[in-house]
């Protein structure tokens, strides 16, 4: 309890909040509409309900980011869980200089990159017969002219062929619709690097999917 109080005080000292405000935040009951700072303070105070609200608040972003990076594989579930467990363990280090979403999405990207590295290491240990010949995707007719299953397989293969760093930019910039500046902060790279990775990633997608499906008609 004492340790939790100290970590809350340390966390609030990052944010330059005085002790009266700290007491006020602690005494507030948390709900779905509570602010991020009060949820973090309550989590540091050992309130599991507050952390659960944070988990529910960021579940969509984290699960989409991890799925975008890894594809439809069973390990997505584990990686998402690891992200939130890591968040719980390191929430005291959140300084408040970026949004909590940036903090969480950065963890999701890092955990996904770890999983991709692990996958590459273990791929050499598996016999070649273990690789599926086609992706287990359904095939319903859609407006795109070809079956949705084929199109999804085509899209996923193209995304999976991207190098990890370009894939991360495509996922954050296009799928999560995060600004280039925020993407640079999440990936801890300069703004120009995000732009060059975005350009190279889009060029590869154009080559794999064909200009007509990627480029706008304007």
């Amino acid at each position: 309890m004492l340790q939790a109080s100290q970590s809350i005080s340390a966390w609030f000292s990052h944010l330059s909040v005085d002790s009266t405000e700290l007491t006020a935040v602690r005494n507030l009951p948390v709900s779905i509409s509570s602010s991020e700072s009060s949820l973090i303070a309550a989590t540091l105070d050992g309130n599991d309900h507050a952390f659960r609200i944070l988990v529910e608040r960021f579940m969509d972003e984290v699960s989409r980011t991890v799925t975008g990076m890894l594809g439809p594989v069973p390990e997505v579930d584990d990686v998402v869980q690891e992200v939130f467990i890591k968040l719980h363990g390191s929430i005291y280090s959140f300084r408040g200089d970026a949004s909590l979403k940036t903090f969480v999405v950065r963890m999701a990207i890092n955990k996904s990159l770890d999983a991709l590295r692990k996958r590459k290491r273990t791929m050499w240990l598996k016999p070649w017969t273990d690789f599926p010949e086609s992706d287990p995707i359904s095939s319903d007719r859609t407006d795109f002219g070809i079956t949705s299953g084929e199109r999804r397989t085509q899209l996923r293969r193209a995304v999976n062929k991207l190098p990890d760093n370009q894939r991360a930019v495509i996922v954050l910039r296009l799928i999560e619709d995060i600004s280039t500046e925020e993407t640079a902060r999440i990936l801890d790279v300069p703004y120009g690097t995000v732009l060059s990775r975005l350009k190279r990633g889009l060029d590869r997608l154009r080559i794999d999917l064909g200009d007509s499906t990627v480029l706008s008609e304007n």
């Binding site: 599991d48 952390f51 659960r52 988990v55 529910e56 579940m59 699960s63 989409r64 799925t67 975008g68 594809g71 439809p72 594989v73 069973p74 997505v76 579930d77 998402v80 869980q81 939130f84 467990i85 719980h88 363990g89 795109f144 199109r151 999804r152 899209l155 996923r156 995304v159 495509i170 996922v171 910039r173 296009l174 799928i175 280039t180 500046e181 703004y191 120009g192 732009l195 975005l198 350009k199 889009l202 999917l209 499906t213 990627v214 480029l215 706008s216 008609e217 304007n218």
Partner: protein
């Protein structure tokens, strides 16, 4: 501070993309996510947090070893108890020497340091 050129590049790359393609990408990931994720993910995260977190490799190995050797340990404990019980029963019935409870439990012979050096010449004519 971003240069005007960088901002123009950013806009150029994104405006060159068709909306349908971006929509398709988002739809792909949403669908994959819905197919892959199990139900009640927040509940599972909270359950995982309630489990002890400090499991490093050594602790996992120890836990695994304990689980393997638990039956051996239980069987060994039964043997020890049976032996101790046998010793107490046997020695308390057949032994004329005054032995302590510990000696009887361990089945120790009634030999002391003094008796060991005490030569009985009658036994060896």
């Amino acid at each position: 501070m971003r240069t005007q050129k960088q901002k123009e590049s950013d806009n150029k790359y994104l405006s060159s993309l068709s909306d349908a393609f971006v929509h398709e990408l988002r739809h792909l990931v949403e669908t994959e996510r819905n197919e892959t994720m199990m139900s009640m993910p927040a509940e599972r995260v909270m359950r995982a947090l309630r489990r002890p977190q400090s499991w490093n490799t050594e602790e996992v190995w120890l836990a695994e070893l304990f689980s393997w050797f638990r039956p051996v340990f239980v069987a060994g404990l039964f043997v020890v108890i049976a032996l101790a019980f046998y010793n107490i029963q046997l020695l308390s019935n057949e032994n004329e020497f005054e032995q302590s409870a510990a000696e009887m439990v361990f089945g120790l012979p009634p030999v002391t340091l003094a008796s060991a050096y005490d030569i009985h010449l009658d036994d060896h004519p």
